[in-house]
Amino acid sequence: MMGVPIEHYLVLSAILFVIGAYGVIIRKNLIIVLMSLELMLNSANIAFVAFSRALSDMTGHVFMIMALTVAAVEVAVGLALVVAIYMHKETLDIDVLKMLKG
């Protein structure tokens, strides 16, 4: 009955997590950084759902829905701050965030 073994889901979620982390660290555009952040949070969600199915336990699903909400909240606040940055700098390049240096 179980078509795809759980390892495949876990490998997928690990790959997505690493791609997301790479994006947050390397990319220069603020919007893409926020998207990479979403990718990281959602890769954890895939792991939750996969574990939940393998364990036949609903907690993972509940956690996934809560984590989705949190991800939406983070992106909403993030976009608001991106708009505020754009008002000041007229660019979304992350290199403009250099005012705070000791």
Binding site: L10, S13, F17, G20, A21, V24, L30, V33, L34, L37, M40, L41, S43, A44, A47, F48, A50, F51, A54, L55, D57, T59, G60, V62, F63, M66, A67, V70, V73, E74, V77, G78, L81, V82, A84, I85, M87, H88, K89, L97, M99, L100, K101, G102
Partner: protein, 482 residues
């Protein structure tokens, strides 16, 4: 879980609910009030916080679990809630004048402080990963907005976006760690995870490591501390004071709860890691603070080294469980007074268009405002750990517990660091007391002055008579040790 239990649980979290309700009332009232009356919303905030504080004192009498065991309301929770509410209350008192000076918005500011504080309070009681993660985010997201609150200032907005991206990064790491732990154990409750913990299973080890990394970030310890100076420097002064005290204490609370309750099987391993982390955190924070010309940035680096001192207490609890844990709790309590006081004084001295943050900005303080200078002196002495202030007693307890637990090197490195830190704290006082330049200082602000007086008297009197508050910390630690 039937209706009766829900009602009973709801009744048990009334301190948190009073904060949340006050925050909602503020959000609703805010649009209907004329601009010049908006500063009076402060009184509603203060009332809500005081009610929460009074209701929270009840918790010292019982230990209960609410909402099917997801929240544990014990003396540990009550102790941390006292720290959060004192921090939030005094920060809002100082904020009222600061917001008025800098022409920010009152309503949302207070509501965000209340929401963030309620997140911290629930966080200190969470013993299950879903509520833990949600409360973590309630606290963090409110603080992201607060640090970017001054929209007109590019520095504040920059601090907000940096905090959001880096904080989101650490939350994602934490969430992934929780996912792995859930997959390995099949449960999100800390006690069930502890009973099923299996050292052979790599998922547990990887999950613990990721969760540790997430918490180390929030505490602001080495090697994930670089975000602290930038974000503390850019955020509005009162927000920096609030988050350096509240968020840090909340992160420590949840860290203690998760690692002592959930992952105690791996205690030997993570204690060794924390030994290294605490040594580097103290030393790097101090070395970087010495070269700073900005007091705000210096205090940010010093808050890193203070996280290191508190971690010494956690490491010491490996040998001396009760003494070590209670010294951490007491350290965070003491840190609330001295650090919020230091940032509060700087907020008090800030002008409309110029934050008081460079060393030169406070020169001549003693001639112009002697009382503020005395308060600043108490905070700096306390941060440096010079008797008879509260900072001395807290540091003494932390290092004593390290010695009792036979971590001699850790205690020696800590004490050397503490001596080193006196240099940059006292340099602030050299500028405040011995320079003659006449800087421009703002007009007196009675409410803020009152809050700063409370903080400085607290730092002094609790340092001379520490035993009552120390017993409270021992009681809180006692309720927490399994």
């Amino acid at each position: 879980m039937d209706l009766n239990e829900v009602l009973k649980s709801t009744f048990l979290i009334t301190p948190e609910l009073s904060l949340i309700l006050t925050g909602m009332i503020l959000m609703v009232l805010d649009p209907f009030i004329r601009n010049r009356f908006k500063k009076e919303l402060f009184w509603i905030t203060a009332l809500g916080l005081l009610i929460g504080f009074a209701l929270n004192l009840n918790r010292f009498r019982y230990t209960e679990s609410a909402f099917a065991g997801t929240l544990s309301l014990d003396e540990f929770t009550a102790y941390f809630n006292i720290i959060f509410i004192i921090g939030a209350l005094l920060a809002t008192v100082i904020s009222r004048d600061y917001i008025e000076k800098t022409a920010l918005k009152h309503g949302e500011y207070y509501a965000l402080i209340l929401f963030s504080t309620s997140g911290m309070m629930l966080l200190s009681s969470a013993r299950e990963f879903i509520s833990l993660f949600l409360c973590f985010e309630i606290m963090s997201v409110s603080v992201y907005i607060l640090s970017g609150f001054n929209r007109r200032s590019p520095r504040s907005v920059e601090s907000g976006i940096k905090y959001l991206v880096l904080g989101g990064f650490s939350s994602a790491i934490l969430l992934y760690g929780i996912a792995l732990i859930y997959g390995a154990s099949g449960s999100v409750f800390l006690d069930e995870i502890a009973s099923r913990f299996n050292m052979e299973n790599p998922l547990y080890i990887a999950g613990t490591a990721l969760i540790l990394a997430g918490f180390v970030f929030k505490i602001g310890a080495f090697p994930l501390h670089q975000w602290i100076p930038d974000i503390y420097e850019g955020a509005p002064m009162t927000v920096t004071g609030f988050m350096s005290v509240g968020v840090k204490a909340a992160a420590f609370a949840v860290f203690l709860r998760v690692f002592f309750e959930g992952f105690s099987t791996l205690e030997v391993q993570w204690m060794q890691i924390l030994w290294v982390i605490s040594v580097f955190t103290m030393t790097i924070g101090n070395l970087a603070a010495i070269v700073q010309r900005s007091i705000k940035r210096m205090l940010a680096y010093s808050s890193i080294s203070h996280a290191g001192y508190a971690l010494v207490g956690i490491v010491a609890s490996y040998g001396e469980k009760e003494l070590g844990l209670s010294s951490v709790l007491y350290y965070l309590f003491a840190y609330t007074f001295m650090n919020l006081g230091a940032f509060g004084t700087l907020a008090y001295l800030s002008l409309k268009d110029r934050e008081c943050e460079m060393l030169e900005d406070i020169s001549g303080l003693w001639q112009r405002k002697p009382l503020v200078a005395i308060a600043l002196g108490i905070f700096m002495f306390s941060l440096a750990g010079i008797p008879p202030t509260i900072g001395f007693f807290a540091k003494y307890r932390v290092f004593l517990s390290a010695i009792r637990a036979e971590f001699y090197w850790l205690a020696i490195i800590g004490i050397l660091n503490s001596v080193l830190s006196a240099y940059y704290y006292l340099r602030v006082l050299v500028y405040a007391y011995m320079r003659e330049e006449q800087m421009e200082f703002p007009a007196p602000q009675p409410l803020s002055a009152f809050a700063i007086a409370i903080l400085s008297l607290g730092a002094l009197i609790l340092g001379i008579f520490p035993l009552y508050s120390w017993e409270l910390a021992i009681k809180a630690a006692g309720s927490f040790i399994p």
